[in-house]
């Protein structure tokens, strides 16, 4: 036997003199590490209840429970965690679209009741809610579970587009659309915010699955004008998109356009299964072929009604055709959508005005001849600022000018133009005028002002940026004071003063200006684009007393847009909005209302 090997192990006795490594008070001395994945906490104010955490949880440990008020962009739901399921992997933290969900470094929870282990972090108060800042947070840097950068479709460069009314945005290619669609987390927060409640996650999913026919069907469930909305929708959905909290919101509008663009119009009827619509004999008249009228016509004809539209102008589309320049919305795309609706059997009569004058058809006649009437006559009158000099004949309203451009009416394009207004219509007229100037003079001379500051302008950001790229001067934060008019009665320019704030402390419209800080902007044409008014004189006469009028002269309706006259429904910009998608939504709902009235048994 090897004596050395017998004795060597006894050297272990050397440890007797060493300090013990035992932790004295393991219950209190051992906080979790800085990154420890302990119990959940949630910043309920930042959380929007999108449910991505629920989707990614492989253990089905997360439920969404009502905990807050529902509002646009916030479902009011908050995650409830079941610690009978959770495995503390923290994928829910990493996927969280708002970074509101984190894990604390607490780890001790003992109970005799197995039902205890469920709670809504942030709502059900726990001791780890605010005790320290430690615990698991989404890792940095460049660690994202979905791409945050938006895929931009290609478009004409400012040089190529500045003198042309050809559509500037090209649609998505298949690859681009797939990549963009991939970013969606399918939360559906956008759906409620969209006035028409379009099935946005569903059609984006159809793009991912490359099933564009299914996509088109989903679009037409709620929106019969996808080509148009795919280009010029105000996309409220994108402002609430949950991806937008951390990155660029999804390009929902361009994705919608992609679906509509990729489906050829001759296949629409087959895809949408509308080849054999059966009429049930009842008749509905629609006044105005704008978004709301067309939408109502589409759904009514699908429900089996005979529909006839009465349109004042020579072509259908309303403001979509006469208010939006063709570099944003080309006419052939308007026609594609409208032609499909008309092809379903919708009758349309152009160049006929509803009113009480000569050569006009009266509301009373319609009411007698048809079972129901839907009116969506829209806002076609320009509003004026009323500043000194604004009654000059060279001071124009934007709807008129835009309509003239569409109709091809000749008018003089001056070298210098001043536009008053900061909305999308103001941008439209600004950029249209710039194009006309570019064609005529080879240079742009447009100054656009708005009361609102740069960050508060109501126009879409990209509209402003693109306008600037095209050479327009957009100079927000100035209030128009007066129009300078020379001896010939032609304006020479606009006096403006700096505007600090628009609303007073109680939220009332009360612009505060700095009279000392003033400027003079030269221009021989002044365009006012500060909103539009409606012409509802056709209601005059015996019906007027039966209708109720609300603020700003709008007719009061119920939730199905039925007025005080049971057979008269009204929708579109004259009731709500103004924008295209709201018009479509009101038309759709009014169609349902009409059906409920005429077919109560259903």
């Amino acid at each position: 036997m090897n004596i050395k090997k017998l004795l060597t192990p006894f050297t272990a006795w050397g440890n007797v003199t060493k300090d013990p490594v035992t932790i004295k008070d393991p219950l209190n001395e051992r906080p979790g590490a800085d990154r420890y994945r302990g119990f959940h906490r949630n910043d309920v104010e930042a959380c929007v209840g999108c449910g991505s955490c629920e989707d990614i949880c492989e253990n089905e440990a997360i439920d969404l429970m009502p905990a807050k008020d529902t509002k646009d962009g916030d479902s009011g739901l908050r995650p409830m965690i079941d610690y009978g399921r959770c495995c503390w992997c923290a994928l829910c933290v990493d996927v969280c679209t708002t970074n509101s969900l984190t894990l604390s470094n607490e780890y001790t929870w003992i109970s005799t009741d197995p039902e205890d282990f469920r709670y809504i972090p942030g709502i059900d108060k726990k001791e780890w809610d605010n005790n320290n800042d430690k615990g698991w947070k989404k890792p940095e840097p460049n660690y994202e579970f979905y791409p945050l950068k938006r895929i931009q479709p290609s478009h004409l460069s400012p040089e190529d587009r500045s003198d042309s009314f050809i559509e500037m945005m090209h649609g998505y290619s298949k690859d681009q659309a797939m990549q963009e669609a991939d970013r969606c987390v399918e939360c559906g927060i956008c759906t409620a915010t969209c006035p028409a409640h379009m099935g946005i996650p569903e059609y984006i999913k159809a793009i991912r699955n490359d099933d564009l026919e299914e996509g088109l069907r989903i679009l037409y469930d709620t929106n019969p004008l996808p080509e148009i909305c795919g280009r010029i929708c105000t996309h409220k959905c994108e402002t609430v998109c949950t991806i937008g909290h951390k990155g660029d919101p999804l390009s929902i509008r361009w994705l919608k356009r992609y679906i509509a663009d990729q489906n050829p119009s001759e296949r629409y009827k087959k895809i949408l299964e509308t080849e054999n619509l059966v009429s049930k004999g009842k008749k509905v008249a629609i006044i105005g072929a704008g978004p709301s009228g067309l939408s109502a016509a589409h759904y009514l004809v699908q429900m089996g009604y005979e529909v006839k539209i009465f349109e004042k102008l020579a072509a259908a589309g309303g403001m979509m055709r006469y208010g939006i320049p063709s570099y944003r919305l080309p006419y052939d795309q308007i026609d594609k959508d409208i032609d499909y609706i008309l092809s379903l059997g919708v009758d349309i009569q152009y160049n006929i005005n509803v009113g009480n004058g000569e050569g006009e058809i009266s509301l009373e006649t319609l009411g007698n001849d048809y079972d129901a009437v839907f009116s969506g006559t829209g806002l076609h009158l320009g509003r004026s600022t009323g500043i000194p000099g604004s009654d000059n004949k060279h001071v124009y309203a934007s709807p008129d000018l835009l309509r003239w451009i569409v109709e091809g009416k000749e008018f003089e394009v001056p070298e210098n133009v001043v536009v008053i207004g900061g909305g999308n219509v103001a941008m439209d007229i600004t950029r249209s005028m710039a194009r006309l100037q570019m064609k005529k003079y080879g240079k742009v001379g447009v100054i656009t002002t708005a009361l609102e500051g740069e960050d508060k302008m109501p126009a879409d950001r990209e509209e402003i940026d693109e306008g600037r790229e095209e050479g327009c001067i957009i100079n927000p934060g100035w209030a128009p004071k007066s129009v300078e008019i020379d001896s010939n009665g032609v304006p020479t320019g606009l006096n403006v003063v700096k505007c600090h704030s628009l609303f007073d402390s109680e939220g009332r419209f009360n612009p505060q200006t700095d009279e000392d800080n003033k400027e003079f902007w030269p221009g021989t044409m002044i365009i006012e684009s500060i909103g539009q008014g409606m012409d509802i004189s056709y209601l005059d006469g015996k019906y007027k007393d039966q209708l109720e009028f609300g603020p700003r002269g709008r007719v009061q309706t119920d939730e199905y847009y039925q007025t005080g006259l049971p057979w008269l429904f009204m929708g579109g910009d004259i009731i709500k909005g103004p924008d295209v998608i709201t018009g479509i939504a009101t038309g759709h709902k009014a169609a349902v209302g009409i059906d409920r009235m005429l077919n109560p048994e259903f």
């Binding site: 629920e54 439920d63 479902s75 409640h197 759904y299 699908q302 709902k589």
Partner: protein, 192 residues
């Protein structure tokens, strides 16, 4: 590596070669020639290690794929032999055993019988229970076995849980009279 694959293609009519990366190939061999091919690989081409035998259920195609992963330690190469069996509706696919080549193959074969229902007649103990005990349902790894349904029916998860879909919930809250469902229903009604 290349030699082994060439042999497989020439002598055993192997097909569908996929070279995943250098040193790892997947190839399909006909069921009747598979054992001969594997023996050849082991005895002649130096694929002396059996890494594993497993299956993949292609229920849509009516195929049950067996995969034999063979390793050649000298050449640092791996070949996976795929054998596509005709999938039977009620389990019971059959394949020749290779336990005479590697003794531990019998354990994988026993597992395949239990988890997939693929039989290896003459493999020792193939019918003994291996992992499961008292199992009386279909072999659980077959694609048509729904484990979640089974778990819910058998183990009764704790009740009292509800969840809400954000999109539906928000619409109920913000716009209770949503026209969409109405139209859909109506459209169906008209078409029918």
């Amino acid at each position: 590596m290349q030699k082994g694959i060439n042999n497989l293609i020439e002598k055993f009519g192997a097909s569908d070669l996929v070279e995943r990366r250098s040193g790892l190939s997947f190839i399909t061999v006909d069921q009747t020639k598979a054992v001969a091919a594997i023996t050849h690989l082991k005895d002649i081409d130096g694929y002396t290690v059996l890494s594993f035998i497993t299956a993949a259920d292609w229920i849509e195609d009516g195929k049950m794929q067996l995969t034999y992963m063979l390793n050649n330690p000298a050449e640092v190469a791996e070949i996976a032999i795929r054998v596509m069996l005709e999938r039977k509706k009620e389990a019971g696919e059959s394949m020749e055993t290779i336990h005479h080549l590697w003794p531990n193959a019998k354990k994988w074969q026993q597992e395949l019988k239990e988890m997939y229902g693929v039989d290896f007649p003459t493999s020792p103990g193939v019918n003994d229970s291996f992992i499961l005990e008292g199992w009386d349902d279909m072999p659980p790894n077959r694609r048509d076995f729904d484990t979640k349904q089974y778990a819910e029916d058998t183990f009764f998860p704790r009740g009292g849980r509800v969840t809400h879909d954000p999109a539906t919930y928000m619409r109920e809250q913000l716009d209770p009279k949503d026209p969409q469902y109405y139209t859909k229903k109506k459209k169906k009604d008209i078409n029918s």
